[in-house]
């Protein structure tokens, strides 16, 4: 791809980008959200058309006007959100959009045979007659790979393929990716996870604000170099840690059972204790009861049985307002749904916790002078980048909305801080800042709980790490003793005894 430029209203998503991938290599596109990785790949896959520049395949310029067109040119894409139809079988999914040998009739027998062959060749363990909804996430991803291979893809675009996998699944899939490259295919690996990029890539191209800011190889760079190229300045990957004496337990959870939206018991007999001055990280793949646990602590979901104690008071099944009064601050997983009101302006979101009490409210009327001065102070203190405190919140970037929520929650002076996926979808710079802030809570004597899918985040922030699987805590390890492997094993349901030896 040469000199690719793509403009969207108001943004230059891709600015004169050169990118190439050769047969037999894994070339990584690294960059933050909005850096232009996806735009570039969507152009290559025919979903968007470039405004300027050209695409050469095997040395010849091509026009890629649609996905069908790109597929015909041997380009395959493994999408971050799987492009599978759950109600259909593997073979039906694969044959979708293909010309059948039997004209208007489907030819699933031929397709199945070929899938089995490909599966054997590359060690994919994919079975054609199974329905996709029955498959695990890792298996679904391998179906996606089969789909691309079936169409003879010589270039494979892998769009954040590890986002939903457990560490051991990541290892397995990397072996497969390597095998595909050795087989003479060119792989484009899109990611923002520095460790994985260094593990897998032959070459790395870093993008920032739609421009190429660096070309390198794993041999020449380490994580810090890459992070710096991504963000454009020095980045601390883990916040500084000061020794802090832990104190009394501020959050105690005993034998907690919470029902999920579907089916019973998303949280099953969970026990936890978090002390003043410590950060407990909860690792685990999403959907293992973390959301239900967080909502139960915050009072948004009524537990079926068990007991939650915050700062010495029983808050099981209390109303959220009461739990907040006892000293809980809550940074929810879905910041735009549960954390802030998108259509409110910044200052309104900043006082949402105590808009009902003095000094912001007197005799049922809002006191705007107080609100404004308070908001100005918080915006400055928490480095929220916003044109003004009157700006509409939903127009801010994800990182700045998250900073705004942190500002509101931390300024309440919590006894217990519960932060769910605090940096998901947030750029590195803002994530660094948020980590710093959470870390500072230790000195204040707050008991913090950080729930995150991002293993690096949990390991960098926490004093102790609990791993959640199927609604239960599989084990708790001290940060010093934690390794990716031991945590990874627990994430797939191994008990700690087996895992930590």
């Amino acid at each position: 791809m040469r000199g690719i430029t793509k403009k969207f209203p108001g943004v230059l998503a891709s600015d004169n980008v050169d990118f190439d991938v050769r047969a037999g290599e894994v070339h990584t596109l690294l960059g933050e959200n909005g850096a232009g990785k996806s735009t570039l790949m969507k152009i290559l896959y025919g979903l968007y058309q470039q405004d300027e520049g050209e695409i050469l395949l095997h040395g010849k310029p091509v026009q890629l006007t649609s996905p069908a067109n790109a597929i015909a040119h041997g380009i395959g894409m493994i999408h971050q959100h799987f492009m599978l139809v759950p109600t259909l079988t593997v073979a039906e999914n694969v044959s979708l959009g293909l010309k059948s040998t039997r004209g208007a009739l489907t030819d699933l027998k031929t397709v199945s045979r070929r899938i089995t062959e490909l599966s054997k060749t590359f060690g994919l363990h994919v079975y054609p007659d199974e329905h996709v909804w029955k498959l695990s996430v890792g298996e679904r991803q391998r179906v996606e790979i089969i789909k691309a291979l079936y169409r003879d893809a010589s270039i494979l675009i892998l769009d954040e393929p590890t986002a939903v996998l457990t560490p051991s699944e990541v290892d397995d899939i990397f072996v497969i990716f390597r095998r595909l490259a050795e087989d003479g295919r060119g792989l484009v690996f899109i990611s923002h996870k520095l460790k994985e990029v260094l593990d897998l890539s032959d070459k790395i191209t870093v993008l920032r604000h739609g421009r190429v800011t660096g070309d390198t190889t794993p041999a020449k760079s380490d994580r810090h170099d890459l992070a710096q190229m991504m963000v454009g300045r020095e980045v601390k990957l883990a916040p500084d840690k000061h020794e802090v004496e832990t104190g009394v337990p501020l959050l105690v959870i005993e034998d907690l059972y919470v029902d999920g939206d579907r089916g019973r018991h998303a949280v099953q007999g969970l026990n936890l204790e978090v002390k003043s001055g410590e950060i407990l990280g909860i690792a685990g793949i999403s959907g293992n009861g973390q959301r239900e646990l967080a909502e139960a602590i915050a009072g948004l979901r009524t537990p079926q049985s068990g007991k939650i104690t915050i700062n010495g008071q029983d808050t099981t099944a209390s109303k959220p307002a009461k739990i907040r009064k006892v000293g809980l601050s809550y940074v929810p997983e879905e910041r735009m749904k549960d954390g802030a009101v998108g259509d409110f302006d910044v200052k309104e979101n900043l006082i949402l916790l105590n808009h009902n009490s003095e000094p912001f409210c007197k005799n049922g009327l809002l006191n705007f002078r107080e609100i404004c001065s308070h908001s100005e102070k918080l915006v400055k203190e928490y480095a929220v980048k916003t044109p003004s405190i009157d700006a509409t919140t939903k127009n801010l970037s994800g990182g700045n909305i998250q900073k705004l929520i942190m500002a509101r929650e931390l300024s309440a002076g919590p006894k217990v801080l519960l932060a769910s996926q605090p940096t998901r979808g947030v750029d590195i710079g803002a994530a660094e800042y948020i980590h710093e802030r959470i870390s500072q809570q230790r000195q204040r004597g707050t008991a913090s709980v950080v729930i995150s899918e991002d293993l690096d985040e949990v390991m960098a922030l926490s004093d102790r790490i609990a791993v959640m699987f199927d609604g239960k805590i599989m084990g708790i390890i001290n940060q010093e003793d934690a390794t990716r492997e031991s945590i990874g094993l627990m994430m797939t349901g191994e008990e700690q005894e087996a895992a930590s030896v």
């Binding site: 969507k42 649609s66 996905p67 069908a68 999408h79 799987f82 492009m83 139809v85 959009g97």
Partner: protein
């Protein structure tokens, strides 16, 4: 003597149940096709009314029942094209625009009827088409093989549609697009073209259903369908979006109607309760929906317009 009389009654009731089920079957097959591709059409009843009037008027003019059926289908196809345009290109809210189609059909069919016909004149319905040999069978013959051609067509469409949905690439495309249009699009299947075709064919079937009804009754009047189109939509949920399920639903509905009619004829139901009895099919449908439909999941992309990258 008494026994054979009872048998006669039962056979006649079942035969009339099958006849009454036919318009429901046609309309709900069409609706099921559209919904499998992810588009809800609440306008079925309006399309049926227009199809019914069109067929009735054509038969009045030409005395040819087949022309009537063709006009019914044709009107359905045209409305289908229009509905596809507003839901797919303009991405109108499907729940609301379907009601718009219904109201349009309800008003327009009556207006045209007043303008061009005025006082109702009856037309001759189809003669029963006896299937050779089979129609001569005792009991079964009268029950199943002495119907008008439209009944055979409707029931033949059930296996045809099953085959299309499950054995052809076109059917695979429809099923995929109703569940995950992005996936289909990413593999080069045209979401637009597939949905367009499903809606147009589906509405064609609704038009045919209306034509069948008008010809069967031999008459047209204001609101002839009496919300049959809405029942047909309910039957799609009852039948779990499968042609066979939809057929079973239509048959149950037709039979209950036939039994209620028969009971009225014999005075089993007092006249004072006849309005209540007329509600029986609807009530049974609702109960069946509550019991049955909960177990099945509707197409995941139903009522959701598709925008690439959106």
């Amino acid at each position: 003597m008494n026994d054979s009389f009872a048998v006669m009654i039962i056979v006649a009731t079942i035969a009339s149940g099958i006849r009454l089920a036919t318009p429901f079957l046609l309309a709900s097959l069409g609706e099921a096709l559209g919904q499998r591709s992810g588009v809800l059409n609440l306008g079925v009843d309006g399309v049926m009314l227009l199809g019914a009037f069109g067929a009735y008027y054509m038969v009045l003019q030409t005395n040819n029942l087949y022309y009537g059926l063709l006009v019914g289908i044709g009107l359905g196809l045209i409305i289908g094209l229009f509905y596809a345009f507003i839901t797919l290109n303009l991405r109108a809210e499907q729940g609301v625009s379907g009601i718009g189609i219904y109201l349009f059909g309800l008003g327009m069919s009556d207006l045209l009827f007043q303008k061009f016909v005025g006082t109702p004149r009856p037309i001759l319905p189809f003669m029963p088409l006896d299937i050779p040999v089979l129609s001569g069978l005792p009991i079964v013959g009268e029950m199943l093989f002495q119907h008008s051609i439209i009944v055979y067509i409707a029931f033949a469409l059930v296996p045809v549609m099953s085959f299309v949905l499950h054995r052809t690439t076109y059917g695979l495309n429809i099923r995929a697009i109703g569940e995950n249009p992005e996936a289909a699009d990413s593999l080069g299947v045209s979401v637009m073209a597939t949905r367009y075709s499903a809606i147009i064919i589906g509405n064609g079937l609704a038009g045919l259903a209306g034509a069948a009804l008008a010809i069967e009754l031999g008459i047209f009047q204001q609101n002839l369908t009496n919300a049959m189109g809405f029942i047909a939509i309910a039957l799609v949920y009852f039948g779990a979006w499968s042609p066979k399920g939809v057929m079973i639903g239509s048959l149950v509905f037709g039979l209950v109607q036939a039994i209620v009619l028969q009971c009225k004829t014999f005075g089993v139901i007092p006249r004072s309760a006849s309005d209540l009895a007329a509600m029986a099919p609807a009530i049974i449908t609702i109960l069946a929906l509550v019991v049955v439909a909960k177990r099945f999941k509707q197409p995941a992309a139903l009522t959701k317009p598709y925008v690439r990258g959106g």
